[in-house]
């Protein structure tokens, strides 16, 4: 069985002014080839103006099984949202 080329995660900026967004992954021998392959695999119809590639092995992800504890601190902080504040309807421009 052949050895695979390393795996890369691909991020595409669809037009200037927008964030790069993860769109998938691919195999390539090096970064330059990863960019070229990403161009052919993910932007055949002008889906992007800029590409980032990152070796998949370099990504650290949060553990989904620990999501409860990780995101719990934000759960009871409704006062961080504007709708928490009860103001009269007569108030304008706020």
């Amino acid at each position: 069985m052949n050895k695979d080329w390393p795996l890369w995660e691909v991020f595409i900026r669809s037009k200037s002014g927008l964030d790069h967004r993860h769109c998938g992954s691919l195999h390539a021998a090096d970064a330059k080839m990863a960019i070229e392959n990403a161009r052919d695999v993910y932007t055949r119809r002008q889906e992007g103006v800029s590409i980032w590639v990152v070796p998949s092995s370099q990504i650290t992800a949060s553990d989904p099984e620990a999501s409860g504890e990780l995101f719990e601190p934000a759960l009871d902080k409704v006062y961080r949202h504007p709708t928490f504040y009860d103001l009269p309807d007569a108030l304008k421009h706020m």
Partner: protein, 317 residues
């Protein structure tokens, strides 16, 4: 341990029932993982093998326009294979294993590609019917429960629509052409109609995976439902071409609000699925040749990348 698994499985099911997606790192039952690896990789293999019958016609396309569109379609199919392989890899199988499964003949791919594409009209019929049937399945799969698969499907569906339209346009041109061209279009429809209906898989009562697949939202419609939907939408398209669908039993049923259609030759279906289709041997042979002939390129690229990396490390130290 068993209790723990039961609890996880119940949570997993309720997540699916409430319409949430399952993501790569989430807990999932082993069977869900295996089923997905099988289904996504079969789908990927189908895209890759699907390039072969059409690839044969690129150099023989009747005009430059037809040639560049067919080339673009085949390139899309390569791309679709890659989206799907990546989705399968998120479940813990390597690309090398996936390739090995396809090349050794252990993995299945859509049987439709084991039929020959013998005339130019077949490029029309394949785009119209085969891609049309695939789209029905793929549109459903954009809502499947496994996130990476569903997202790959969204991208694929956006691109597939051009495939079907270019196929139909070929059929339209031929069916408005000379008597010989029209006969050629009719002949392609005659040969691709039944295999296209078979693409939806066995009848519901004989489909072994359907129930579990529905529960896990791997599938949202049954084989027979999708097949009926395909017949209903394709009959008027054939009429528009002035071509006749090769089924004497085909008839509008006002009561059901659907077309009734004749019996599929399930013996033929089983034969082709079992690898005894007219081109099964040839497809796998072509695929293996391409893979083997490309080996030195893949190895050289990796050797070059490693050498460059060593060089830049040396320069830095």
């Amino acid at each position: 341990m068993e209790l723990y698994n039961e609890k996880l499985e119940a949570e997993f099911q309720s997540k699916i029932d409430s319409g949430q997606n399952i993501e790569a790192k989430d807990w999932m039952p082993e069977k869900y993982r295996k089923t997905h690896i099988r289904q996504i990789s079969q789908h990927a293999h189908s895209e890759i093998i699907g390039m072969l019958p059409e690839g044969n016609w690129i150099t023989r396309a009747p005009s430059l326009k037809r040639k560049i569109t067919l080339l673009a379609k085949v390139q899309d199919e390569g791309g679709h294979g890659l989206y799907l392989y990546s989705a399968a890899e998120t479940l813990g199988i390597s690309r090398a294993e996936l390739n090995e499964q396809l090349n050794s003949g252990r993995a299945k791919y859509s049987s439709i590609f084991n039929y020959p594409a013998v005339t130019w009209a077949d490029m029309g019929a394949v785009g119209w019917l085969v891609d049309g049937a695939a789209i029905m399945n793929q549109v459903m799969l954009t809502r499947t429960s496994y996130g990476p698969y569903a997202r790959a499907m969204v991208r694929i569906c956006k691109e597939e629509s051009f495939h079907q339209r270019q196929g139909y346009e070929i059929m339209l041109t031929l069916s408005k052409g000379t008597e010989v061209q029209k006969r050629m279009a009719q002949d392609a429809l005659n040969r691709w109609w039944w295999p296209s209906l078979m693409m939806f898989g066995p009848r519901d009562e004989e489909s072994v995976h359907t129930e579990q697949a529905m529960k896990w939202k791997i599938k949202l419609k049954s084989n027979d439902e999708l097949r009926q939907q395909f017949v209903d939408q394709t009959v008027p398209q054939a009429e528009l071409l002035g071509l006749t669908i090769p089924d004497p039993k085909l008839k509008w049923n006002a009561e059901r609000g659907h077309y009734d259609f004749g019996d599929i030759d399930w013996e033929e279906f089983k034969r082709v699925v079992a690898g005894k289709g007219p081109c099964s041997y040839e497809r796998l042979k072509t695929r293996n040749e391409a893979w083997d002939k490309g080996a030195w390129v893949r190895e050289a690229a990796m050797a070059f990348a490693e050498k460059q990396q060593e060089k830049s490390l040396k320069e830095a130290s």
